[in-house]
């Protein structure tokens, strides 16, 4: 066993060096979100009455699904509110980070060929998973400290704060171990990540459905690791033993990953590799069809995810109306009456779906970067394929696929809403809203392509505009962002059901123009530059 672990320290040093920017950014971002969000919440809901109104919403199925199992709703203190509403949000964020960490330091390294290089020297078979595990332990510790610290800054009870922090930290370990396991099963980093995210998705849904079945959680909830952190009842009636389940699962999954590692060849996965076609389908004949083929699996995954989200939103519409009917009249007035509340909720649903579509557009356009670093762009451009055609194919793919995915999930949202509740003109209304999101989607694709064309190394910056829009759209109303900032977000100018507002036509024209100009600029830059360039 010690021989198998030989070289772990070397790999760990390498991993720390590779993550020296990524890790601190994640940890600080989680800390800021939690501390900042906590301060905001505490201010917005400063009085006990306001918090009780909030508790009514959080006791509804939608509130439970988006929040927590509803501990402390009777006496909704700031602590109870934080634990109930922020745990899910933060856990999903750290779970994605943990999956990434686990996969990139095991399967990622392996398929980049670095492990092969090292293992032939003095690195044992289990060194990579072991190094990744240590990385995860370090990450979990930092996350625990940051989360507990954020709670202490709100002057919340110390013991509960620490258990709350540990509840988040332990999820790093759980999903890190899941990532290690996925990295054994799939033979590519992308596949492993996809598998891990699927597990995370199931965990979220199981927890949500389980808690909706019964306030404070039903038997089903306990099958989701996410529930274990919520079941500590932090700031309400503290108990820490549910975290033991998380530790147990971590140990089991890590051991399973290690034993699978010794059972397989380097670079192979345990899920079978199918042998494929000896000839290409007849549609596969140019950059665009190639793009479609390369991204079809991930496009389908995105579609399923957004459609599921649409179904969830749609089915929560009645509870939205009912909960608003129970609310004090003053509160109803703010939201424009109970009918308007449903429509506001649908607007929010559309924004959420559009954020997903925007992320998809950027992810698709960013594939250009990978094609270049893997020197496939060089191969394609040595054929009679003009640079403009290669670039615009991916740009068009990003725009069209994200638009179609958004269209389908919009229709599903309309259909599910229509099935459970009557809202006048839900189809036409939502379709109009969909159309007004299209200029923004084009803009995201154009910006991503421009960044890539200027400097492929900086392609990751294409995510900044999406992040900006997401923060403005989701947190903007909560964080009281100044209006000139919200005006900068292309999502701010779409049509809305709640206010009966048609879209801001001038703004949409502007967005479209900027999008086209940006794409033109990208083409000009791409035609001028060296390939490959880093």
């Amino acid at each position: 066993m010690t021989r198998e672990l030989q070289g772990t320290a070397t790999l760990l040093k390498l991993a720390l060096k590779r993550d020296r920017i990524r890790l601190p950014i994640w940890v600080v971002a989680v800390g800021l979100l939690l501390a900042g969000g906590g301060q905001e919440l505490a201010q917005v809901f400063s009085s006990a009455e306001e918090r009780q109104v909030r508790a009514t919403i959080m006791g509804q199925p939608s509130g439970i699904f988006m929040g927590g199992p509803g501990y402390g709703l009777d006496d909704y203190t700031v602590g109870a509110m934080m634990a109930n509403e922020y745990t899910l949000f933060i856990v999903v964020a750290v779970a994605i980070m943990a999956l990434q960490t686990a996969v990139r330091h095991t399967r990622g390294e392996e398929s980049a060929g670095r492990i092969e290089l090292l293992r032939s020297t003095r690195v044992g078979r289990h060194a990579a998973p072991a190094a990744a595990t240590v990385m995860l332990l370090i990450t979990a510790t930092l996350i625990t400290l940051v989360c507990a610290g954020s709670m202490l800054m709100l002057d919340l009870p110390a013991q509960d704060s620490w258990v709350f922090g540990a509840g988040i930290g332990v999820q790093v370990l759980v999903f890190g171990a899941v990532g290690l396991l996925c990295a054994q099963l799939s033979s590519t980093p992308r596949g492993a990540m996809g598998l891990g995210l699927a597990v995370l998705g199931v965990a979220v849904v199981v927890r949500g459905v389980g808690d909706i079945m019964e306030l404070h959680g039903s038997w089903l909830s306990w099958f989701s690791p996410i529930a274990w952190s919520m079941q500590t009842r932090a700031f309400v009636e503290l108990r820490w033993w549910p975290l033991l389940l998380a530790v147990g699962l971590t140990l089991l999954a890590t051991l399973a990953a290690m034993s699978l590692q010794s059972r397989r060849d380097l670079d192979a996965g345990l899920l079978p590799q199918r042998s494929g076609w000896s000839h290409a389908a007849s549609y596969l004949r140019g950059p665009l069809s190639l793009g479609v083929r390369l991204t079809r699996t991930s496009n389908l995954t995105w579609l399923i995810a957004l459609v599921l989200l649409a179904v969830t939103y749609g089915s929560l519409a009645p509870s939205m109306r009912d909960s608003f009917a129970d609310l004090p009249a003053s509160y109803q007035a703010i939201m424009g009456g109970s009918d308007r509340a449903v429509q506001g909720f649908l607007d929010l649903a559309m924004t959420t779906l559009a954020c997903g579509a925007a992320a998809l557009a950027v992810a698709l356009a960013s594939r250009l970067h990978g094609e270049e670093t893997d020197s496939r762009t060089e191969l394609v451009l040595s054929l009679p394929v003009a640079r403009i055609r290669w670039l615009l194919s991916w740009w068009a793919l990003a725009f069209v696929v994200s638009a179609v995915v958004l269209l389908l999930s919009t229709l599903v949202l309309a259909a599910t809403t229509d099935a459970v509740i009557t809202v006048d003109g839900v189809y036409s209304g939502l379709l109009l809203i969909w159309a007004t999101y299209l200029p923004a989607l084009t803009l995201f694709a154009s910006l991503a392509v421009l960044v890539y064309a200027l400097s492929p190394r900086l392609t990751v910056l294409a995510w900044v505009p999406v992040l900006f829009v997401v923060i403005v759209a989701i947190l903007g109303p909560l964080l009281s962002v100044p209006s000139w900032v919200t005006d900068l977000s292309p999502f701010h100018h779409v049509a809305r059901l709640a206010s009966d507002s048609a879209a801001d036509a001038a703004a949409l024209t502007w967005i479209s123009t900027v999008a086209v100009l940006t794409a033109a600029l990208a083409v000009a830059a791409f035609r001028r530059r060296d390939i490959p360039r880093d």
Partner: protein, 372 residues
């Protein structure tokens, strides 16, 4: 211990392989000039014409005035130490990199401005072949062929068979050699006028290497031009009509392989019945080594091609029992450039006077008989 005679089989003559019309073409020239100075080629007959190409990446000057001419219908070897700029030169002539200065013409078209048009008539195999991991080898070949257009009838099937590639495997499961085969099949199956191959055989096994050489020869017979960058000297020796050697970003020597051989010393290996010491002073055996062995006197070493003629009467009088004369191997020729000092050496090395002091070693590989 007496050294054994080094029997070097005659290196396969490239005359067999040279296209008609090129065979007897070298004629007489001034031995003192560098090879590249002779025969200024007609630009219309050039598949590749690079003149004074400079390229730098930031502070690193990678190409310092590359001049490279490749006549149509020949296989041109492109040699040089690691990092000397071979792949960079190739990317310039493919219009992937933009030269800082100089002109790059490929098949009569500007390599940068008319890249797409030029690419209709050429096929490229990169040095580091990466394919789409989720596509099978067969899908990659079909896709590359379709995007290029102009595929030879039935060539894909024939080449797949010939290179023993399993086209149903996902690319991510291929070894380096198999990935190279995919790119090679797509390139060789095309009806391109020019093949640009960057170390295409670095991952192939000897059997596949032989298949590769055979197909490339066939293509040349049909008039296709080939630019072949390689580190495998035997491959270049057996396949190429002309050779260009690049060092630190400039071409230090280029010309026909045959001509280069004439410029370098000839290796001789003689066994005589009588002791060479008996010869009078008029015959200078200079740097040759002499060993006495059971079967006679063994004279080995290297001489100027011109000196060979003067030596023959003397040798004759010593009663020759065995005689081997061979042109210097490419290895000897290239080692000189690979080892040469970075600066100021090129001009000297190109002339015949620059050979002094070259170490001679037993050739690392027995010359293979020409498969054709």
């Amino acid at each position: 211990m007496p050294s054994h005679p080094r029997h070097r089989a005659a290196t396969p003559s490239i005359d067999d392989a040279a296209p008609p019309g090129e065979r007897e073409g070298h004629g007489e020239r001034d031995v003192g000039t560098a090879v590249r100075a002779v025969e200024p080629p007609d630009p219309a007959d050039l598949a590749v014409d690079l003149q004074g190409i400079h390229k730098s990446f930031g502070k690193a000057h990678v190409l310092n005035g590359v001049d490279l001419q490749i006549p149509r219908g020949v296989i041109a070897g492109f040699l040089g130490p690691n990092g000397s700029g071979k792949s960079t030169t190739i990317r310039v002539l493919l219009g992937l990199l933009r030269a800082d200065s100089g002109t790059a013409t490929v098949l009569g078209r500007d390599a940068w401005r008319d890249a797409v048009d030029a690419h209709r008539h050429l096929a490229y195999v990169p040095g580091d072949v990466n394919l789409w991991p989720g596509l099978t080898g067969g899908e990659c070949i079909d896709l590359l062929c379709r995007m290029r257009g102009g595929t030879r009838e039935g060539a894909v099937a024939e080449l797949t068979e010939r290179f023993q590639l399993d086209p149903r495997k996902k690319s991510r499961a291929y070894s380096k050699g198999n990935r190279q085969k995919v790119a090679l099949i797509a390139a060789l199956a095309s009806d391109a006028e020019l093949l640009v191959l960057d170390e295409p055989t670095s991952g192939l096994d000897p059997l596949m290497e032989r298949e590769f050489q055979e197909v490339v020869r066939q293509r040349r017979a049909e008039g296709v031009s080939v630019l072949l960058s390689s580190h495998i000297l035997s491959e270049v020796e057996q396949l190429c009509d002309t050779v260009a050697i690049i060092r630190e970003g400039s071409v230090v020597e280029q010309g026909r392989l045959e001509d280069m051989r004439h410029l370098t010393r000839v290796t001789i290996d003689v066994i005589t019945a009588h002791d060479p010491a008996l010869l009078d002073d008029s015959m200078d055996l200079g740097e040759l080594q002499i060993h006495e062995m059971a079967e006679g006197f063994h004279i080995t070493g290297q001489v100027e091609p011109a000196a060979l003629q003067d030596m023959l009467p003397g040798l004759h009088s010593l009663h020759v029992r065995q005689l081997h004369v061979a042109p210097a191997s490419l290895e000897e020729l290239f080692m000189r450039h690979y080892r040469a000092e970075p600066h100021g050496e090129a001009g000297q090395a190109a002339g015949p006077g620059g050979v002094v002091g070259v170490e001679t070693r037993a050739p690392g590989k027995p010359a293979k008989p020409d498969p054709s």
